[in-house]
């Protein structure tokens, strides 16, 4: 699948209220409906520009603020394959991997809106094909990799009957 960059105008400290406003998260339970309203308060036309397989590109501390899991859910439902940012806020980071949304930390200064990207998690590289640049991705911790492999924390839990396998992953890490 081809991945294209969708870069937000606001780059740093994009909070989860901006990802999906409290106006919607409290009354809408369907992630598909929520996905129509992502980033509405900071860029009302953004949601309409997202295509399936796109990679959202942001700066420092993406996903700060509220613990709402509706934020990564709405991004996943909107079609995003991954989010690339310089850094992520803690709760958002956990939530994303828990629901199977891939996050990559790298220097996003060299990615413009619409650039074609190629992601190689194993090698830890994000290739900006348009610009001919290869960017280093910060290694994804073994716990997160394990959760992603299993399709999120719910699937992990069901498959292994709890955290037993995660404990092993941790001991061998």
């Amino acid at each position: 699948m081809k991945h294209f960059a969708r870069r937000l105008k606001v780059q740093d400290n994009v909070n989860t209220d901006y990802v999906i406003s409290g106006r919607y998260k409290f009354k809408i339970q369907d992630p598909k409906e929520l996905a129509k309203h992502i980033f509405e308060d900071i860029d009302p036309t953004f949601a309409a520009r997202v295509g399936k397989g796109d990679i959202l590109v942001a700066g420092e501390n993406f996903g700060c603020g509220s613990s709402r899991e509706q934020a990564p859910q709405a991004l996943k439902q909107a079609g995003f394959y991954a989010v690339a940012a310089k850094s992520f806020a803690r709760i958002f980071y956990r939530n994303a991997f828990n629901i199977g949304l891939l996050l990559v930390e790298c220097n996003t200064d060299f990615i413009d809106d619409g650039d074609e990207l190629e992601l190689d998690i194993e090698k830890g590289k994000l290739k900006n094909k348009g610009k001919g640049l290869i960017l280093d991705i910060k290694p994804i911790p073994p716990v997160m990799k394990k959760l992603l492999e299993d399709g999120g924390v719910v699937e992990h839990f069901k498959k292994h009957g709890g955290f037993s396998r995660l404990n092993q992953t941790l001991d061998n890490a």
Partner: protein
């Protein structure tokens, strides 16, 4: 090498000797969700295929964010929570009980040394009573509800030392806004913050909750304070659980040490739209306001309301301004009734809404119109936070909000020096 409070509490709950950077599965002492997060907790829990809570006494749901319900969508979520609490035989604080972060410590669910998860980012509030408490998402919480466990990365710790007696009119809210201004919205991401100093120990336990509550606004996982006599008295009066106070070792390793002197601090105000854009109140004295809000998990406790009432007594709020007051719990509301605060607020022209989060989350109880400006005692001023992306939110102490609603513009509470 000694250990930080975070390293000790997580070690105690994992049976392992943990250091910053380690990841481990830990036993959780208490967990909860609120009405913005519980719907997904319930859905995720059902997907796990588990039929029972790991311990029905260690999980609660709180209906506080949109309570009473403003629309059908929210009503359905509240109904789902009530049904789930009956099915699982777990506790529920329904509308009118108050804000989760007031109720959980007040009702004795947590005590010193506990490890607590909440599906709410301001769960860090109980760091004030020496609890390792942090926010997670709904699915994370569902996993803990099913198993009593979750995985934790042991955070590095920043040591924050706050000394000096704050001047009259300067409160714990001003202190934490001042610290956030310096450290920044991203300055403590993934990290623990330990608060020390005579300015912290001089605060009441209620005022300390304001400090820990806002640790997440600089990205922190926890904002924790050592237990002193005040803490131990406070928790043992409320909880039957034996407290296990945890102190950091003298030779614990910190990633940074920050020192602050608050003896000459002015009342602080965070400007739209980020919590770390903070000014001294006197720099903003010409900013006109349309609405004041006193309440929330940051500043909706009795002493907050009492400070505001002292300033408002005998005054009317400005004719162009609305004031909304939300006590953080039913018990606080009752105390307001008994001590005459309700009369003071109502006479001044304020509207008292039910115990809960009030207009902080932008779903009801005072959504702003386009271009309107609010000054609030809450912890977030993100664009759109109070329901309208075309409005503006300033954050301040209850005293600053009270002084401002009288004059109709941001006002230094030290103007009412004799009342403070």
């Amino acid at each position: 090498m000694g250990k930080t409070i975070a390293e000790k509490i997580l070690s105690n709950h994992s049976g392992k000797d943990l250091r910053a950077g380690d990841i481990a599965v830990c036993d959780v002492d208490f967990c909860f969700g609120q009405d913005g997060t519980s719907s997904i907790i319930i859905d995720s829990f059902k997907k796990l295929g588990v039929s029972k809570a790991f311990d029905p006494k260690k999980f609660y749901m709180i209906i506080d964010h949109s309570a009473p319900s403003p629309n059908i969508g929210v009503s359905e979520i509240h109904k789902k929570m009530r049904e789930f609490s009956k099915t699982l035989d777990v506790g529920l604080y329904d509308i009118g009980c108050g804000v989760c972060h007031e109720l959980i410590p007040q009702k004795g669910h947590v005590t010193c040394g506990d490890l607590v998860l909440g599906a709410d980012s301001h769960t860090c509030t109980y760091g004030a009573i020496n609890v390792f408490s942090t926010g997670v998402g709904s699915t994370d919480l569902a996993i803990t509800l099913a198993s009593g466990k979750n995985w934790f990365r042991v955070p590095e710790t920043i040591r924050v030392v706050v000394n000096g007696k704050p001047p009259k009119g300067v409160y714990s809210k001003d202190i934490i806004l001042h610290i956030i201004k310096d450290i920044g919205a991203n300055g403590a991401t993934y990290k623990a913050v330990e608060f020390y100093g005579d300015a912290i120990s001089g605060l009441s336990v209620d005022a300390r909750f304001t400090i820990s509550n806002m640790a997440v606004e600089m990205g922190a996982k926890i904002g924790i304070i050592e237990a002193d006599k005040k803490t131990l008295k406070w928790v043992t009066e409320r909880s039957v659980k034996e407290p296990h106070p945890v102190k950091a070792d003298i030779d614990a390793k910190y990633v940074a040490v920050k020192n602050y002197d608050v003896s000459k601090l002015s009342p602080q105000v965070a400007r739209p739209h980020t919590v770390d854009s903070v000014s001294n109140v006197e720099e903003l004295k010409d900013v006109k306001i349309d609405q004041g809000y006193i309440g929330t998990c940051t500043n909706g406790r009795f002493e907050d309301l009492e400070i505001a009432a002292r300033i408002l007594r005998g005054h009317s709020i400005h004719p162009d301004v609305k004031l909304i007051v939300a006590p953080a719990s039913r018990e606080i509301y009752m105390e307001m009734v008994k001590k005459g605060l309700v009369e003071i607020f109502v006479k001044s022209g304020a509207t008292i809404v039910g115990p809960g989060c009030g207009p902080c989350v932008g779903t009801h109880n005072g959504v702003l119109a386009d271009g309107e400006v609010a000054i609030s005692t809450a912890n977030r001023n993100f664009k759109g936070r109070m329901g309208n992306p075309n409005s503006f939110i300033y954050l301040a102490s209850p005293a600053t909000v009270a002084a401002s609603v009288i004059s109709g513009k941001i006002t230094d509470p030290r103007l009412y020096k004799k009342r403070l």
